[in-house]
Amino acid sequence: MNKVCSLEEALSRVNPGDTVMVGGFGVPGTPFTLLDGLLKGGVNELTVVKNEANEDHMGISKLVEAGLVRKMITTHLGLNKTVIGMMNRGEVEVEFYPQGILAEKIRAGGAGLFGLLTDIGMDTELLSSTKQTMWFEGRELIVESALKGDVALLHAAKADRFGNLVYAKSAMNFNPVMATAATTVIAEVEEVVEIGDLDPEHVHTPGAFVDHVVLLEELSEEYGILEHHII
């Protein structure tokens, strides 16, 4: 029982045209090394599901800038002028959702549900005009479909060889829900421990959800502190 493998072996599971879920909210929890591996491999026509597009020239933004991403399903691009520019010029298709609704769509996919009913955005022109609605128990609601990925790329602090994952602080964010929602789940981790070394009550993502674990030999600069976010 050992899900630890090389970056190359893990990323060989990603194919052109795949829907790829990518963990992270800003820097914390973003699998920069897996993303660099994808960039190097040049797998294209991807649909990427991620909270945001990282910042200009970082993480997922590099894949978008390289033209490998056909479509982004996301919540906010406010910190990435480059991708906003590409979106405005039609160089990348972008589908926006309210942040918690994106999380719920992914979670529903991971939980084997097909959709959910919500009132978020019901009274706003943008959302209510573009979504399927239905009447349920006396009110009109938006029907959101569940979202599933071919692959999920995650970043965790620790894993054991079964794939149990532990996240650090705010690096958790979208990783646990994405861990449930893709056919193939790949986690890059900062430390691999033996099976039995993690406290069963402190495991954030049970190993059953995870297919491949990639041990990071070093953390690139992208994982570090961003100077412009310091006061």
Binding site: M1, R107, G109, A111, G112, F162, T180, A181, P200, V203
Partner: protein
């Protein structure tokens, strides 16, 4: 065969359906006997509906933990690599397709793979529990059951008469006398127990049995 020995016969054959690294769910009854027939070097992870992943065997007397039971209420041990989750995550694992193989008992199972195991209208209707989700969503569902009921009626039938737990959900049926695979064309007889004749299996089965080209094997 005594009750004990036929149950063990079924459980021992069922154990062969589990391999290294698999995530497994055992229903109540015969399924709970399967784990003891696996060699200790095979590392697999037993899932329970109440949120445990990585259950070991039942506790030795005196070593019970009041906070650690399986979905049937029995006090259990943990294996290394275990984890706890809440009920919604535990069932996300099931419905999301992360149970590699599940073993359930049956009241009736049809040659097409329909399963009925949760209700006898007017007699026994305690609620569905987690069985419907396990039956519908396990990647591989193995039914382990005695071949006939106490009145010697076939449990493997043409059409289930009881309300279904799941439709076309059974991948393999293991009884004390046969191993059978529901297929679109009908029920394929894969293996016959040592010492049992094909004719006996036919007589005790409520639906037609197809034979593989090379003939059924033995177990």
């Amino acid at each position: 065969m005594s009750t004990t020995s036929y149950k063990d016969k079924i459980a021992a054959r069922a154990a062969q359906e589990i391999s290294e690294g698999k995530v497994v769910n055992f229903g109540i009854g015969i399924p709970t006997l399967i784990a003891k027939f696996l060699p200790p070097e095979v590392q697999f992870f037993v899932h329970a509906e109440n949120g445990v992943l990585g259950m070991g065997g039942r506790c030795r007397r005196g070593e019970e933990d009041r906070n650690l039971i399986d979905a049937g209420g029995a006090y259990v041990e943990l294996v290394p690599g275990a984890s706890f989750a809440d009920s919604s995550v535990s069932f996300a694992m099931i419905r999301g397709g992360r149970l590699d193989v599940a073993f359930l008992g049956a009241l009736e199972v049809s040659g097409k793979g329909d399963l009925a195991n949760w209700i006898i209208p007017g007699k026994y209707a305690p609620g569905i529990g987690g069985a419907m989700e396990v039956a519908q969503k396990a990647r591989r569902l193995v039914v382990v059951t005695n071949h006939n009921d106490r009145a010697d009626n076939p449990k493997i039938v043409e059409e289930c008469t009881l309300p279904l737990t799941g439709k076309s959900c059974v991948d393999l049926i293991i009884t004390e006398i046969a191993v059978m695979q529901p297929t679109r064309r009908g029920l394929l007889l894969l293996e016959i127990a040592e010492g049992v004749e094909l004719e006996e299996v036919r007589q005790r089965t409520g639906t037609e049995l197809l034979l593989p080209p090379e003939g059924p094997g033995r177990f």
